[in-house]
């Protein structure tokens, strides 16, 4: 536990965002808390009503804004508070993962899971497992590099990027 809490300074500390549904995984993470199960502090949870609500663009935004890994978690199949939001979400992720993989975006950085309100320990496992995976993969600079048009190395005139780099020095 000590290692997770006070990680070695030299070690890369991944930033992880968790997109979770209110009824299962958020409540499950609450249970992790009430059970005082310790896990890595790299993760920050965003609460949604349902996995069906989670827009795929938000995942990409998190990567662009500096996330190295993402967790998406909701109710187990047939347990959705809204009966079928997780089923719709599951289809969305199937397609989304397929597309990202085709484009060379690292789908291993997105961990999907079902964590019920009773699975406090599982939530800790999911977080710790994801932190380990992402730590091995390293920071997702590849994607962020594309996000920052100021340091793009593209040689095309049409970008005019080099000019931009120097034009704004302070940022």
């Amino acid at each position: 536990m000590g290692r997770l809490g006070g990680a070695l300074m030299s070690e890369f500390e991944p930033k992880i965002v968790a997109f979770v549904c209110n009824w299962c995984t958020y409540a499950g993470a609450d249970l992790t808390g009430t059970s005082r199960i310790k896990y890595a502090s790299n993760v920050k949870i965003v609460r949604f009503p349902c996995t069906g609500r989670i827009d795929f663009m938000l995942l990409l935004k998190a990567f662009a804004e500096g996330a190295d890994g993402i967790i998406v978690s909701g109710c187990h199949p047939n347990d959705c508070h809204y009966t079928s939001g997780n089923f719709h979400a599951r289809r969305r992720w199937v397609i989304f993962r397929g597309l990202l993989n085709f484009m060379g975006i690292d789908v291993n950085r997105i961990q999907f899971s079902w964590v019920s309100a009773a699975e406090g320990a599982k939530w800790a496992d999911v977080v710790n497992g994801t932190v380990t995976t992402i730590r091995e993969l390293g920071p997702y600079t590849e994607y962020r590099k594309a996000a920052d048009y100021l340091v793009q190395q593209d040689k095309s005139i049409i970008d005019g990027q080099e000019a931009l780099i120097k034009s704004v020095s302070s940022l």
Partner: protein
């Protein structure tokens, strides 16, 4: 004006010297199946035998995305920082055709007609334009119909014409001369080549005077609707055009920090003129098509005394539905 001869090997040597002296050299290079401008690291990357690059060279002075200023907020106080114009690189753009060089004229007029656009001007000041006169053309080219031509030198600092065993070089401006000095030895004495002999013969496709006269009274004409039917309202024509200068202002905000950006826009987009109220003065594609033509061939000549078209034919090549501008102008 000074005329010289330069061999291909000499040209490449000279261009490499320019690269070595930290100038940013942009020239036509292969991009997949197409030829387009790109920054080159060595002169042998440059393509010479293309008819037309996909895009014009306008982005050298009017990039598709440009930072106007950056800002930072703290508790209601805002700090602004303008783009650092002095940081723009010394640039050489090579291998553009006369129609592209001619495009800087209307472009400059737009960016200076009331407010003097510092960004555009600063970039232009640092840019030397070396054109390649045309020995080939295709069915989309119509520079000769809009007072241009395959050897037109307007907007060029240096113009090269491919001749036997090398190029005829016309050094047209001081900027051009200064550039030659980087490796004067590469240039040889003029061999007396007759430029016109090498240029492509391109017949006029329409009479520009007649067209412009007709446009004066054509605002309510049904022709706009007829012509624009197949137009699908994308911005391809505007984005490849050497003279289109419409832009949009966007904000790249991240929390309390951000940048104000200028990005290309097109009058062909339905949302281009959409008001917040929901009203759109140009509701139909016909109105937007009319705007495009009238702007280039009527409003600009009237107000800025320049025409918004150099006959490069890019818009027609780029159009997914073959909106051939020369054909449309002829049919007015």
């Amino acid at each position: 004006m000074k005329k010289c001869f330069i061999s291909l090997a000499g040209l490449q040597r000279w261009l490499n010297v320019l690269i070595d002296t930290q100038k940013h050299l942009y020239a036509p290079v292969n991009k997949g199946a197409k030829v387009d401008f790109g920054r080159v690291a060595s002169a042998d990357e440059i393509v010479f035998d293309h008819i037309q690059t996909t895009q014009s060279a306008k982005s050298v002075a009017f990039p598709r995305t440009d930072v106007l200023f950056s800002y930072e907020k703290e508790k209601g106080k805002v700090q602004l920082e303008n783009a650092d114009l002095t940081a723009y690189p010394e640039t050489v753009v090579f291998g553009l055709h006369p129609c592209d060089a001619a495009g800087f004229n209307p472009l400059g007029a737009i960016f200076n007609w009331d407010y003097k656009d510092e960004l555009y001007n600063a970039r232009m000041e640092r840019t030397v334009v070396i054109t390649l006169a045309c020995t080939k053309a295709d069915e989309y080219c119509f520079c000769t119909s809009v007072n241009g031509g395959p050897g037109n030198t307007v907007g060029s600092d240096i113009q090269l014409t491919p001749v036997k065993d090398g190029f005829l070089a016309e050094i047209l401006t001081e900027k051009g001369e200064a550039l030659v000095k980087a490796d004067e030895a590469a240039f040889e004495a003029d061999r007396g080549d007759v430029k016109e002999k090498y240029l492509v013969k391109l017949p006029e496709k329409f009479d520009i005077k007649t067209v412009q006269e007709k446009l004066q009274t054509a605002f309510e004409s049904p022709i706009w609707k007829a012509q624009s039917q197949r137009c699908i309202g994308c911005g391809a024509c505007a984005y490849v055009c050497p003279t289109c200068a419409c832009f949009d202002i966007q904000e790249d905000a991240h929390g309390t920090k951000g940048k104000r950006l200028r990005c290309w826009d097109s009058c062909g987009f339905a949302l281009f003129t959409l008001h917040t109220s929901g009203h759109n003065p140009r509701q139909t594609q016909a109105q937007r098509w009319r705007q495009r033509l009238l702007h280039k061939f009527s409003y600009m000549p009237d107000r800025l005394s320049v025409r918004g078209c150099t006959g490069c034919g890019r818009c027609s090549r780029a159009c997914p539905v073959d909106m051939n501008i020369a054909e449309h102008l002829r049919s007015i």
